[in-house]
Symmetry: C2
DNA sequence: GAATTTGGTTGACATGGTGTAAAGTTGACA
DNA sequence: TGTCAACTTTACACCATGTCAACCAAATTC
């Protein structure tokens, strides 16, 4: 599968990302990626065993380039549970648009490809984990609503912050990104916190 | 495309529905549908021009058989806006599980098929319309939160009640159906209504 | 009773995407 | 000079959708 840090490999990942990002309605095919990268279709398979693996590698590449970890880290240092919740929503919410194109392609592959399913689940588990931590912080402050178990609060928050939700509100609803952040923070606060 | 009310046509729709409902991870192919119906693959094309059209027809068939309209109608007669909101969430929320299999297949086709995209959009617009009415009822009571425009409240409610959201909470979160309804009613109330 | 229509059947085939395989090219490096 | 790695070209297997054509049998109609 060639060296992990090949120049071409990186170019393929970049191209894949760009193509998915500028995602028209048509699917991005292996041949599209190859052509845009300026190599043969076969050469793509020299670096990635399948389309699913390429998509998965692209999400990982993005996480690395965009440094998700550092960005989500910020929320951990918040003083109160409530601030932490706000910070987390802001950090994650602002990360979504940067990976949406790739995420969408990965979701589309879920039905047909097991590896894609697992990769997507892993990703969502990571978000869920962040939500869990935010809920735990709320709870520690005694700010968590009595109507919900910690588990339920986590589930609710995670689904509120899901990429599908973001897409629907931004694309169909036409919400601006700042408005999305504001209203999500508001909704989360109202539905998770004790009055 | 043969007569609209053929016996075989109905059998195909029933089979498609059953197969999608019992949806394992594998996609339901035209040949699967044909075999399960007990006819040849070609015969399916005698009734439906394409897989997308078959899926679309299946959703329509379900709407008819399950009588969505009547079920959603119930919420219209509610006395207050709040009751109406609750009733709508209950009616729609309990309809979701009955159409989920088909909905999922239709969503999966969105990326590749224009007709599927339009069909899905129509469906979602119908839900949105119901949400709009519920929000209008709230507003008339003066119960709508001042933080949200009617438009925003509608968007928020529609995305809260989206099928993806339901799937995530039920499948990943493991929420029971009654719990889903209860917590969605609670979340909607808290995030849409004035205090 | 013969002809036609309806709703199927079988089999072959085009199309379009993924993924595999094999042989050839090119440039760097030892 | 030889070898290795990255890439190219060409060909092909596989699989799902959708099309086409010829044929068949039962019911309907003239």
């Amino acid at each position: 599968m060639s060296s992990e840090n090949s120049e071409t490999r990186k170019k393929i990942l970049e191209t894949t990302w760009k193509l998915l990002e500028s995602g028209g309605p048509s699917a991005v095919r292996m041949s599209d990626i190859a052509r845009s990268t300026g190599i043969s279709r076969q050469a793509v398979y020299l670096h990635f065993p399948s389309r699913a693996e390429l998509l998965i590698a692209t999400t990982r590449y993005l996480d690395e380039v965009k440094d998700v970890d550092a960005r989500l880290e910020a929320s951990r240092s918040a003083a109160s549970g409530l601030e932490r919740l706000d910070a987390y929503i802001e950090a994650w919410g602002n990360y979504i648009p940067e990976v949406y194109g790739v995420a969408r392609a990965l979701v589309a592959m879920q039905e047909t490809d097991e590896a894609a399913r697992v990769a997507w689940k892993d990703r969502m588990d990571a978000v869920r984990h962040g939500c869990e931590a935010a809920v735990a912080a709320l709870r520690k402050d005694g700010a968590l609503s009595k109507d919900l178990t910690a588990r339920e609060a986590t589930d609710l928050l995670a689904s509120l912050l899901s990429i599908e939700q973001w897409a629907q509100l931004r694309e169909h609803g036409g919400w601006s990104q700042p408005r999305y952040i504001t209203l999500m923070q508001r909704t989360a606060r109202l539905s998770l916190c004790a009055k």
